[in-house]
Symmetry: C2
Subunit: 129 residues, 2 copies
DNA sequence: CAGAATCCTAGGAGATACTG
DNA sequence: CAGTATCTCCTAGGATTCTG
């Protein structure tokens, strides 16, 4: 099954067709960040221009060791963050965003704006009651 | 907890802060479409300018009655699709995108482009082996 | 400090059968 | 035609404990 390359595929199809998760660029991209803690982790790393493990754990409120480690490993193997470790005792490990990671975050701006607008409308309606 | 309104919140934070799912516009927006079948459903409806239930079931390959109905109900209550039924026998039900739904799909264009680029690079690397 | 190893559970999703 | 109603299963995620 070939990967579709037309810009309007999936995002806003202009004609009917089949969508397979493996081949859809949108589902592929969402698959990189649709786990519970990945975006909060990415945002924290981005906001600090690099963070250490325990610092990250403190900032991403509520995340457990298990999930933080798992998420970081996946983000790393997906090339969204890079891991920089010193082989000292105790170890120092810093996580930074890669260019690829930064670019991914930027693509969420429009979605973010949509969310802001909808949340405003929801609050307005609740206030009207 | 106030809802943050700065355009760069979450999408690309400029300073450290806490992120709560309930208050983050990006997580709010993603929450509307991060179920398995919702985007494929939205894309099919968008591509056909409205679709009937069984037609939708045929087009969204692999979806079950249970999940299709559940997804449609949620999309409807989230205001992303509208349901138009005739009270005839047998019934005719058409689903259409709302403006809100269309606008949401448009916000995925950048993410889509990112996905296209990454998929190309992945294929290039696999081909090199 | 920065994790790894286990164990466990809730709920998203699938399969199947039925209906106004 | 356009759905409901059950049942089951799997796995993302959580809790807890341990370590180079």
């Amino acid at each position: 099954m070939p990967i579709s390359t037309q810009p309007t595929d999936c995002a806003l199809p202009t004609e009917p067709r089949d969508y397979y998760h493996e081949d859809c660029p949108v589902l592929y991209a969402l698959g990189k960040v649709d786990q519970k803690w990945k975006l909060p982790i990415l945002w924290q790393i981005a906001g600090h221009h690099g963070l250490r493990y325990n610092e990250l754990k403190r900032q991403v409120r509520g995340v457990t060791n298990t999930m933080l480690t798992k998420s970081l490993r996946e983000l790393e193997s997906d090339g969204l963050v890079s891991r920089h470790a010193t082989s000292t005792v105790p170890p120092e490990v810093a996580y930074r965003l890669t260019l690829k990671g930064k670019q991914l975050l930027v693509t969420l701006q429009d979605l973010h704006q949509w969310g802001v607008t909808q949340l405003k409308q929801e609050r307005r309606q609740q206030h009207a009651n």
